[in-house]
Point group: C2
């Protein structure tokens, strides 16, 4: 998953620094400066910069240098960019944006899942719903989170739409983020759990309408809760 090697190390420094706003728009970096700062060769710096350029976080121009680009151009769907932003200063803005996105996508995905899920996926969803019920009662936040992520990922996967499916990791990052930063109740809401069971049942029954509704209620709940926590 992660980019490896020395360029990876550079990325791990520069990416978060830019994403968090520590290096604001317009900041100019020079390749040579980076070489010295990180004690690596030209090759490594250039490759790291190329990757950042691919994410539209920076642009490199002759005789000018490597310029941090305005946020409006960033590839906000890139998983790395999302993770970096979640870890940094505009975590709350990022969580809000992702919240709206989830509200649009996940109900639609649930409806599609009710139509297209494989038998195995339907079984897994039911099993996960049970697990969620149990780990919630035990207040085991870590495993609860794991299962919650897998539940939502499975629904997105089962929608048989590659673009929805790829948002699985993103949703995972959101759920992890809000748990890590204590933006959710310490004891998962029993109501939310019941809705997960309802989604699972509806998908199993092939009831797209009910799956969509239940999922919408789940995500709406998460979003209002988020807004409460963030003021």
């Amino acid at each position: 998953m992660e980019i490896q090697g020395l360029p990876g190390r550079l990325l791990a420094e520069l990416g978060p620094a830019i994403a968090s706003g520590e290096l604001p728009e317009g900041t100019v970096l020079r390749a040579e400066e980076l070489e010295e700062r990180f004690g690596v060769s030209r090759t490594v710096v250039r490759e790291a910069v190329r990757i950042l350029e691919g994410m539209r976080l920076v642009a490199s121009r002759r005789r000018v240098g490597i310029t941090v680009q305005p946020r409006s151009g960033w590839d906000v769907f890139d998983p790395l960019v999302i993770r970096w932003r979640l870890a940094g200063a505009d975590r709350s803005a990022q969580l809000r944006s992702l919240g709206s996105l989830r509200l649009a996508v996940e109900p639609a995905a649930a409806a599609l899942a009710a139509r297209h899920a494989t038998d195995d996926e339907r079984r897994r969803l039911s099993a996960l719903a049970v697990e969620l019920t149990m780990t919630a009662r035990a207040a085991d936040l870590a495993t609860f989170l794991r299962h919650d992520i897998e539940f939502h990922s499975t629904v997105l996967q089962a929608s048989r739409n590659e673009m929805f499916a790829h948002l699985g990791d993103t949703v995972g990052a959101v759920l992890t983020g809000r748990t890590e930063y204590h933006l959710m109740p310490h004891q998962p809401e029993p109501y939310a759990i019941r809705l997960h069971r309802e989604v699972a049942e509806a998908v199993c029954a092939g009831d797209a309408e009910r799956a969509e509704q239940a999922m919408r209620t789940i995500v709406e709940g998460a979003l209002t809760e988020l807004n409460q926590q963030l003021g």
Copy 2:
């Protein structure tokens, strides 16, 4: 927008080849081979490969080579990947996926736009709706397309959600694609035009519900039409 220089040339060759399936999953390329094939240096090859690696189209491993990755791992939200796929063999699969995505996102965006659009944006939407009506009557497909793209982009922008906003280019690519490949009626549907006017009016009036419904009808129409054309 485009990646420049020699690595850009490599990208423009390899990206489409991979995205179209011409180089199927598991294909192994060697850096040296690419150097010779394109008559460029290691530096250039490595940078191009790094970028493809960033999109998760390939993975580079020592003693093995540069391996084309399974589609399931690709960064399907990357604008370049989308464009390459639209230009190649799985154009129809890509159009279907994007259709579902639009169906989820654009109505939600329209609702948000009705709440958050600036005065200028509301004015632009109204103006664009008028333009659409006129160019449709004149059967001027090129300008119609331009205005259509700008209309949808403006709605996404006006939603004040960065992730929605960034789908503007993607939607633009879809609309361009289906026009180029003659997947839409030569004379734009008067009904669809009226719906655009309705979206504009609803956004101006701040009526989220109506904006959402009208936009949903637009995208649903586009999707069913697409499915008819593709069988």
